[in-house]
Amino acid sequence: MKLSGGIEIGAPADQVWTLIIDPVSLSSCIPGVSHVRQIDERTFEGSITVSVGPVDGDFDFNSTLVRREFPDLEVRLEGIDSVTKSRLEATVVASLTSSDPSHTGLAYLATISVRGRLAILGEMILRATAGLIIAELTRCLQARLEGSGIGVGKTDGP
């Protein structure tokens, strides 16, 4: 499954870059992510909790910065969910572009594969949540980088 799109941020590319290559700061902008822990310069781990009707599941992941050459970033993520013990692997490629010094575009492409029983429901959940997650991520990045300060570090939704 592939998810792609773009985010516009009213801040210079180097500031956006500094934030997105810092896993702890970036993950604080992604709803649902908790227990983020940096393991080394390129690796971090964390957890996402999702509930679907009566089923609550935790997804524990491990993430590696595979490529970090401004303006391109590639992150590989693998994890296992607590309900079906299925394996999810994802590669996210992000790239920054700036048309003027105070505006940055962030284009992303996520390629996700789910193995095991999680595939029965996982894709539906990913698609359902992706739009709101990206919207929240955008709001949070804009709030942090566009200087208003509103929403910095906040992951509680609207």
Partner: protein
């Protein structure tokens, strides 16, 4: 458990239809019947299977579900599922009891003749069921093995979102449909389920359990049929793989009830099928039957998600109501099931409310092929869902139906904006790249007359060109019904039992 000597009938596959055939055939004490099931036959039935409230767990965690990965046109994959346990699909499915529509019988009649018409099969449909709500009516039964009831009637008090859905549907001109097992159901319908005293009524429970003590019925679970022993136009027996090793069991007749994926696989492994496909796997051709494995049909499903204004916890497995709707108002019959689904919740986000849209037609045809000549390898399935543009359009039409409903003032207290897919421009792409299935595969050993090159079985379900071999499961249905398929598979089992008794 003795499998010495010859049987009169071996039923391969103790799934939905196989349990029906074994139970009906063994009513004749003179017939020695063997039922062979690849999966286990756990007794007592574990709670995770029997308790409908544990359905999500059953599907997501239990060892009784088999997955067949298939690809969409864009290369992304999703799984088809089947049950691998006594009762087959009926032991793991979502328990909905839905009859094919009259038009489905009309379609089957084109292939199987008048014995497959609605009127010819109505007595059997009545004999299958004990409908606790409508049993005393000319179209329903009150003394059959399959117990069913609607846990909710349309005018019962209900949670506010369910009431609001009913109100919105009625306001949009959809009729109230208290019984969706009428010949032409349409509208906002109360959903019937095969649940009795909180326990699943699989065919292992409804049909097999009352027959288990018969001395003429032998049941072998955890036993996989590897191939048939074919001798000219006859099958002499079945080669079985048991924990203790391989064994050949002889029988006067054999019924394949291994389901839409495995009945064609077993035929091909035994040399009965398209000669080119058999040659590809160096399987000696016993009988060239080109239709085996072709004609696969299923129901495509898409999920759309609305922003929730509340945390809707409507039951995922047993939704109280379903919409039987038209994807296009100009159609003369409904082609969709639409369900409201429980919320998805994630910290930091408002609740998201999915709605699932199920297309009840399939214009293109897929197929089931062999992965190898090894019986333990799963077959390869190409469901070819949504390869016909009208099927895509119908699901796009379904998104419009769901959006109209969600936007109705009665539902505004629960459903906000459509989040996924957002704007109508994105709907077709969403349909093409995210569809899954209703798990209703049929058609890979379809009924038809001998001169029809795609036909595998005759109208009495006997394999063309073979004297003593039948197929009895959802694979024989030539056209997918506008309904969930478990009841159709039960009906096929009943028809097969009668046909074999007459043979």
């Amino acid at each position: 458990m003795s499998i010495e000597g010859a049987f009169d009938l071996i039923v391969v596959g103790g799934g939905t239809a196989g349990c029906v055939v074994a139970a009906r055939a063994s009513e004749d004490p003179a017939l020695r019947v063997l039922l062979v099931e690849a999966g286990p036959d756990p007794r007592p039935i574990p709670d995770i299977v029997a308790d409908p409230k544990r359905q999500s767990e059953l599907i997501l965690k239990s060892p009784y579900v088999r997955m067949y990965d298939v690809a969409r046109e864009d290369g992304s994959t999703f799984p088809l599922l089947s049950g691998r346990i006594m009762g087959g699909g009926s032991s793991i499915n979502n328990l909905a009891v839905v009859r094919p529509m009259r038009r489905d019988f009309d379609a089957w009649t084109q292939f199987g003749g008048p014995v497959w018409s609605y009127d010819a099969l109505l007595p059997l449909m009545r004999a299958i069921e004990t409908d606790r709500d409508f049993g005393d009516s000319p179209i329903h039964g009150s003394a059959g093995p399959l117990q069913l009831h609607r846990s909710f009637k349309l005018d019962d008090p209900a949670d506010p979102p369910v009431r609001a859905l009913i109100e919105a549907a009625l306001a949009l001109g959809l009729p109230a449909c208290p019984d969706l097992n009428v010949p032409e159901p349409y509208g906002i319908c109360a959903s019937p389920y095969n649940v009795e005293n909180g326990r699943r009524q699989s065919t292992a429970v409804a049909y097999l359990d009352p027959a288990r003590d018969r001395p003429n019925l032998t049941i072998l679970s955890d036993t996989t049929a590897m191939r048939l022993v074919v001798n000219g136009t006859r099958v002499d027996g079945v080669e079985l793989a048991r924990a203790t090793g391989p064994v050949v069991v002889r029988s006067a007749s054999v019924v394949l009830a291994a389901g839409v994926f495995h009945s064609p696989q077993l035929l091909m492994l035994s040399g009965i099928g398209p000669s080119d496909e058999l040659a590809r796997h160096r399987i000696p051709v016993r009988h060239h039957l080109p239709g085996v494995g072709t004609n696969y049909q299923d129901h495509a499903v898409v999920y759309v998600t609305f922003q929730g204004t509340t945390d809707l916890r409507e039951d995922y497995v047993i939704p109280k109501v379903r919409l039987i709707a038209k994807s296009d108002d100009t159609m003369d019959h409904p082609d969709l099931h639409v369900f409201m689904r429980p919320s998805i919740r994630m910290r930091g986000l408002p609740p998201m409310l999915p709605v699932s849209i199920h297309l009840l037609e399939h214009r293109s045809r897929g197929n089931v092929a062999l992965q190898s000549a090894n019986p333990t390898d799963l077959p390869v399935v190409d469901p070819a869902l949504l390869s016909h543009p009208r099927d895509v359009r119908a699901l796009v039409g379904g998104i419009a139906v769901a959006s109209r409903l969600a936007a109705h003032p009665a539902l505004a207290a629960f459903y906000g904006a459509l989040l996924t897919p957002g704007s109508p421009d994105a709907w077709e792409e969403h349909v093409r790249t995210s569809y899954i299935t209703y798990y209703h595969g049929v058609g890979t050993c379809r009924i038809g007359p001998a001169q029809d090159p795609g036909a595998v079985v005759d109208s009495g379900l006997r394999v063309h060109g073979m004297d003593n071999l039948w197929v009895a499961d959802a694979s024989v249905l030539p056209v997918i019904p506008h309904a969930n398929t478990n009841l159709a598979a039960i009906l096929v089992g009943e028809v097969a039992a009668q046909a074999i008794a007459r043979a």
